[in-house]
C-alpha cells in the first residue's frame, strides 16, 4: 500500500509517495533520491545506514518510513554546507580515514552526533561512539585519529 509522507531531510521538505513497508532507508534512497546513505545489512548490525534523527544517530534500516514525518533527518548529503566540507569530513580526507567509502557516511554521522554532544573526547570515547559502525578496510586507526584531530581543534566553527 502506498501512502503520502511529508518529511524534512537536511532542512528541505519532501512530499513523497512511499510503500508502507518501506524503511526510512528505502525512503531516503529510493523515494527522496539521497543515495549517500548505504545499506550493508538491513537489520541494524553494521551501521552503514546511520543517519541523524532529531540529532540522534539511528540505523535508518530499523525505522519505518511512516515514522519520519515530524522528525528532522540529517544524512551525509546534509553534512557539508555550500560545498564546504564539515571539519569531520575534511579530517577523514586528510587522515586517510576513508578507503572503499561504504561505511564512511555512517561513521561521519555517528562522529558528528558524538561531537555535537561532547566536543572534548578521549580515544576510548571515540572508539565507543563508532563501535556500531563496522569498517572492513581501515582497521579504524585512521578514522579514530581523524575524529580525535577534530575534537582537539579550536571550536570556532559550528558543527
Amino acid at each position: 500500500m502506498k501512502t503520502l509522507l511529508k518529511c524534512t531531510v537536511n532542512g528541505e521538505e519532501h512530499s513523497v509517495l512511499a510503500d508502507t513497508r518501506d524503511t526510512l532507508l528505502d525512503l531516503l534512497r529510493d523515494r527522496v533520491g539521497l543515495t549517500g546513505t548505504k545499506e550493508g545489512c538491513g537489520n541494524g548490525n553494521c551501521g552503514t545506514c546511520t543517519v541523524l534523527m532529531d540529532g540522534v544517530p539511528i540505523n535508518a534500516c530499523l525505522v519505518l518510513a511512516v515514522e519520519a514525518p515530524g522528525r528532522t533527518i540529517t544524512t551525509i548529503e546534509g553534512l557539508s554546507t555550500n560545498g564546504v566540507l564539515h571539519p569531520l569530513q575534511q579530517a577523514l580526507v586528510e587522515h586517510g580515514g576513508t578507503q572503499c567509502g561504504f561505511c564512511t557516511p555512517g561513521i561521519l554521522l555517528s562522529a558528528k552526533a558524538l561531537l555535537d554532544q561532547n566536543p572534548r573526547l578521549s580515544e576510548a570515547q571515540i572508539r565507543h561512539a563508532i563501535a556500531g559502525n563496522l569498517c572492513r578496510c581501515t582497521g579504524y586507526g585512521k578514522i579514530v585519529e581523524a575524529i580525535a584531530a577534530v575534537a582537539a581543534a579550536p571550536q570556532e566553527e559550528s558543527r
Binding site: K38, G40, C100, F102, C135, R136, G139, K142, I143
Partner: protein
C-alpha cells in the same frame, strides 16, 4: 618511518603522504556504487536459493510466479547455455572454468550447497519480486551431504561430482573422489631428517570458514538496448573478467556487452567472479527493462558469495641443537566448498618460504564438500597455513629454549637462497625486517604487567602475489594536462598512487592529473585487481604510457620550435630547446595543434617480475583465564614494500589487513548446522571487529626495491593478513602455556585449551 631506498632523492611526488584523490566524493556520499543507480522503468530482481546442501533438482515450475501481478520475468538454468566442464576463460596464469562460474550463478540439475541460486525473478518492485520467489515450485531429491573435510575424504563418503578424479595421482584413479587434486612439494629426506632431529615440534590445526566481510553486498544493474547491446554496472574487482564470464554464461558476443565498474564497497578477493551479473542481464533481456539485483546480507553469507576455505593442516618441524632447521613436513587439506577449488600449491610454498631448510615434504589436498564454493580472500589460505606453520616454529623455539626472533634470523631466507619450488629468491629484505624488529620498542620493551597473564607473540608472513596484465592509456586535455584511463579497478587507492606515478613522470602535481578506471570497452584488457598486483604492474603500464605521450608531444613541439626532437628538454609541462631560450608549454602546444588529432599514449605491463611480500608481526595479548577472552594490547606490523608510493596508503592497507586477520583469529568463523545451513548468517552473529575490539596498529615500512620493476614497487595489501592469527596464538601460548589449534580462537576454545594445558601439566607432575 621509511628506510629511504636509494632511488628516493630524485622523487618529488612518489613517496608523498597524500590524501586519496577520490576522498572527497566518499566523505560527501557522492561516490556511486551499483545499488545507487536508478534507471527509468527499472525492474528489481531477487534470487531463489537452495534450502538443501545436496540435492537433485527434479523439476522447477515457475508458472505461478510468472502469473503474479507485477512479475516481469523469471529465469532458471534452462535460460542459460549448458556449459561443459572445462570451458575456460583467461585470468592470469590459471583461468576460470566457466562450468563452475555458471553453477555459482545458477544451479543446474543438482544443488551443491545451501544458498546456491536455482531461479531468479524480476518484478516492478522488490516486494513483488520477493513474493514471487515463494510461488516458484522446486522439487528436490535430497542427497547425502558431506559438510567437512574429514567426512569428505572418508572412504565411505559419497562422491559429490561424478567427473572429479583426483589430479596429481598417477595412474589416473578409476573412481571419482572428493579430493580434486593432490600436490606434493618435496626435496631431500624430510621424514628421515625429522626422526633424527634433536628438537621437533608438531601441530595440527583446524580453521573454520570465515568471510571477506566487504560491507557492500553484491549489486548490479543491467540494461539491454533495442540492438541487444548490454551494459552492466557492476561492483567488481575486474571489469574484463566479469565481461568474459557474463558473455560465456549467456552465449553473448563480447562486442555486445560492456561492463562499467562502479565504486566497489570492498572486495578482498570475493568480487572477482560474477555473482548474479549474468542473471540480471538475462532478466533484462527477457523483460526489456533495466534490472537491478542487490543481495541482502543473508544472501551474501548464506551461500550467495564465495567465502575463503576452511582448512585442516598438520605441520612438523625439526632442528639441530644449533637451532638450524633440518626438516619441514606439512599436510594441507583445504575445503573448496561445493565445486573444485584452487590447487593448494601456492600456499604450501608460501608457508614454508621464509625458512632455509634442506628437507621439505609438503602435501596438499583440494577437497569438495557441500558448502558454498570458496573464493579468494586476501592472500588466499595464507593465514590458515601461517596459523599452523608459525605456531610449529614457535613450539620448536620453546623446545630449543631459543628466542623466536633469533631463531628466525638463524633460518631466514635471503636473496638467492632456494625457495620451496627450487628456484632462487629474488631480492628480499627478510633479514632487514627481523633486525628492525629486534631494535624496535615493541620487541625490546618488557611486557607491561596487569592483573591477568600477558604474552608476546611473533609471526612471519610471506605472499607471492602475481603480475598478470595491466593496461592504460593517457590522453592530453586541451589545457595540456594528462587524462589517465586505467584498465584496473581501484580497490586500494590505485587512482591516488597512480596519479602520483603519472605526476612524477610528467613533472607535475597530483592535482594536474585526471585519472579514472575505464569500462571494458574504453581501455585495454587488464586482469582483475587481485594478488597484490595492481600498483606494481599499473605503475609499469603508466610509466610506458607517459613516455609514449612525451615522445608524441616532443615530435609536435620540435615541429613548432623548428628543431630536432632530441634537441628538446622536457621538464614540468614545458619543452625547451637545449641551446637558447625558446620553449613551449604542453598547454600552448595542445592549443597550437588542436586539429592535429589526439595524443594517445599507451602502456601495457604483462608478466612483470613478482613483487613478493614479506612481513613480521609482533603482538602483545592479555588473556582472561576465567572467561577465555583475549585482548590484543599492542600490535606492530613490519613489512618490506619495495618502495612506498604513498606511505599513508600503504599503512591503510596494512592496518586494514591486520584487523581482518585479528577478526578471523579471534571471533570470525562460520557455524554450520548438521543440515549444512549457516547458523550465523548475520553481522551480529558473524562477529567482525569493531573499533573497540582492536588497538591502533603500528606499521613499520621497510623498503627493499624489486629489481627490474619501475620504482621497485612490491605488493602490499595481502601479506599483512597472513601472520596475525599465528602472532596472537603464539602470544596466548606465552601468556598461558596453552596452544590454540582451532581458529577462530573464541573465548570458549581458549578456555578449553587452558584447561587442557593444566590437565597435561598436572599429569606430568604426578
Amino acid at each position: 618511518m621509511s628506510d629511504g631506498a636509494d632511488a628516493a632523492p630524485a622523487l618529488k611526488v612518489i613517496g608523498q603522504r597524500l590524501p586519496r584523490v577520490d576522498a572527497r566524493e566518499r566523505v560527501t556520499g557522492e561516490a556511486r556504487y551499483p545499488a545507487d543507480l536508478a534507471l527509468p522503468g527499472m525492474a528489481y530482481a531477487r534470487q531463489l536459493r537452495s534450502p538443501h546442501a545436496h540435492a537433485r533438482i527434479l523439476c522447477i515450475d515457475t508458472t505461478r510466479a510468472a502469473a503474479l501481478r507485477g512479475v516481469l520475468a523469471v529465469v532458471t538454468a534452462a535460460d542459460f547455455p549448458d556449459l561443459p566442464v572445462g570451458t575456460m576463460i583467461p585470468m592470469g596464469e590459471l583461468g576460470y572454468d566457466m562450468w563452475m562460474v555458471a553453477q555459482i550463478n545458477m544451479a543446474r540439475q543438482k544443488v551443491h550447497w545451501v544458498g546456491q541460486p536455482v531461479a531468479a525473478v524480476a518484478a516492478v518492485d522488490a516486494h513483488v519480486a520477493e513474493a514471487a520467489l515463494a510461488l516458484i515450485e522446486v522439487e528436490y531429491e535430497p542427497l547425502p551431504a558431506v559438510l567437512d573435510i574429514a567426512s569428505a575424504m572418508a572412504a565411505a563418503a559419497p562422491a559429490l561430482h561424478e567427473h572429479v578424479f583426483t589430479k596429481g595421482i598417477e595412474p589416473r584413479p578409476r573412481a571419482p573422489s572428493n579430493v580434486c587434486s593432490r600436490t606434493v612439494i618435496a626435496r631431500g629426506e624430510a621424514q628421515g631428517a625429522l626422526t633424527c632431529a634433536p628438537a621437533t615440534a608438531r601441530v595440527s590445526v583446524q580453521v573454520d570458514t570465515a568471510h571477506q566481510g566487504y560491507l557492500e553486498p553484491q549489486a548490479v544493474v543491467a540494461q539491454v538496448d533495442s540492438n541487444g547491446f548490454a551494459t552492466v554496472w557492476a561492483s567488481t574487482q575486474g571489469q574484463f573478467t566479469a565481461e568474459l564470464m557474463i558473455a560465456a554464461m549467456l552465449g553473448l558476443q563480447t562486442s555486445k556487452l560492456k561492463v562499467v565498474p562502479m565504486e566497489i564497497g570492498g572486495g578482498f578477493g570475493g568480487k572477482i567472479a560474477i555473482h548474479g551479473e549474468a542473471v540480471a542481464v538475462r532478466l533484462a533481456q527477457k523483460c526489456r527493462r533495466p534490472v537491478k539485483l542487490v543481495f541482502s546480507r543473508e544472501d551474501v553469507l548464506q551461500g550467495g558469495s564465495g567465502p575463503p576455505a576452511a582448512a585442516l593442516i598438520d605441520i612438523a618441524v625439526g632442528a639441530g641443537e644449533d637451532g638450524k632447521l633440518t626438516a619441514i613436513t606439512g599436510n594441507y587439506r583445504l575445503d573448496a566448498g561445493g565445486l573444485p577449488g584452487l590447487s593448494p600449491s601456492l600456499v604450501m610454498q608460501a608457508s614454508a618460504a621464509l625458512y632455509q631448510c634442506p628437507n621439505l615434504d609438503l602435501q596438499g589436498h583440494d577437497v569438495v564438500t557441500n558448502k558454498p564454493r570458496t573464493e579468494a580472500y586476501r592472500a588466499p589460505v595464507g593465514i590458515q597455513a601461517a596459523f599452523a606453520m608459525e605456531q610449529a616454529m614457535d613450539m620448536l623455539c620453546q623446545q630449543l629454549g631459543m628466542d623466536p626472533l633469533e631463531f628466525r634470523l638463524r633460518n631466514a631466507a635471503v636473496t638467492g637462497s632456494t625457495m620451496p619450488i627450487g628456484t632462487p629468491f629474488p631480492a628480499i629484505g627478510l633479514t632487514t625486517i627481523l633486525e628492525r624488529v629486534r631494535e624496535h620498542a615493541c620487541w625490546r620493551d618488557p611486557l607491561s604487567t596487569g592483573r591477568l597473564p600477558r604474552g608476546r607473540g611473533l609471526a612471519l608472513g610471506y605472499w607471492r602475489g602475481t603480475s598478470m596484465t595491466s593496461a592504460a592509456h593517457i590522453t592530453i586535455a586541451g589545457d595540456g594536462r594528462p587524462m589517465v584511463t586505467m584498465g584496473a579497478v581501484d580497490l586500494s587507492g590505485t587512482r591516488t598512487t597512480m596519479a602520483q606515478v603519472v605526476a612524477e613522470e610528467f613533472g607535475l602535481m597530483v592535482d594536474d592529473i585526471h585519472i579514472h578506471t575505464g569500462d571494458s570497452k574504453s581501455v585495454g584488457y587488464s586482469d582483475g585487481a587481485a594478488g597484490s598486483r595492481v600498483a606494481r604492474t599499473m605503475t609499469a603500464a603508466l610509466v610506458e604510457a607517459s613516455r609514449d605521450v612525451l615522445t608524441q608531444l616532443r615530435r609536435r613541439a620540435a615541429e613548432k620550435l623548428q628543431c630536432a626532437p632530441e634537441q628538446l628538454d622536457y621538464a614540468s609541462g614545458t619543452f625547451r630547446v637545449q641551446t637558447g631560450s625558446a620553449g613551449i608549454s604542453v598547454a600552448e602546444l595542445m592549443k597550437a595543434t588542436l586539429t592535429d588529432g589526439a595524443i594517445v599514449g599507451r602502456g601495457v605491463s604483462t608478466k612483470l617480475p613478482l613483487g613478493v611480500e614479506i612481513g613480521a608481526h609482533v603482538c602483545d595479548v592479555e588473556v582472561d583465564t576465567r572467561t577465555g577472552l583475549v585482548t590484543v594490547l599492542r600490535y606492530t606490523a613490519f613489512q618490506d614494500v619495495g618502495l612506498a608510493l604513498n606511505p599513508a596508503a600503504v599503512e591503510g592497507q596494512m592496518e586494514g589487513s591486520v584487523v581482518q586477520g585479528l577478526g578471523w583469529a579471534l571471533t570470525e568463523g562460520f557455524d554450520y548446522g548438521p543440515d549444512g545451513r549457516l547458523r550465523n548468517a548475520s553481522l551480529l552473529d558473524y562477529r567482525m571487529p569493531t573499533a573497540l575490539d582492536v588497538p591502533k596498529i603500528d606499521c613499520i615500512i621497510v623498503e627493499t626495491p624489486v629489481p627490474n620493476v619501475p620504482y621497485g614497487v612490491r605488493g602490499v595489501g595481502e601479506v599483512p593478513i597472513v601472520p596475525p592469527a599465528a602472532a596472537v596464538a603464539n602470544a596466548i601460548a606465552r601468556a598461558t602455556g596453552a596452544r590454540l589449534t582451532r581458529m577462530p580462537m573464541t573465548p570458549e576454545r581458549v578456555l578449553a585449551a587452558i584447561e587442557r594445558a593444566h590437565a597435561v601439566g598436572k599429569q606430568s607432575l604426578r
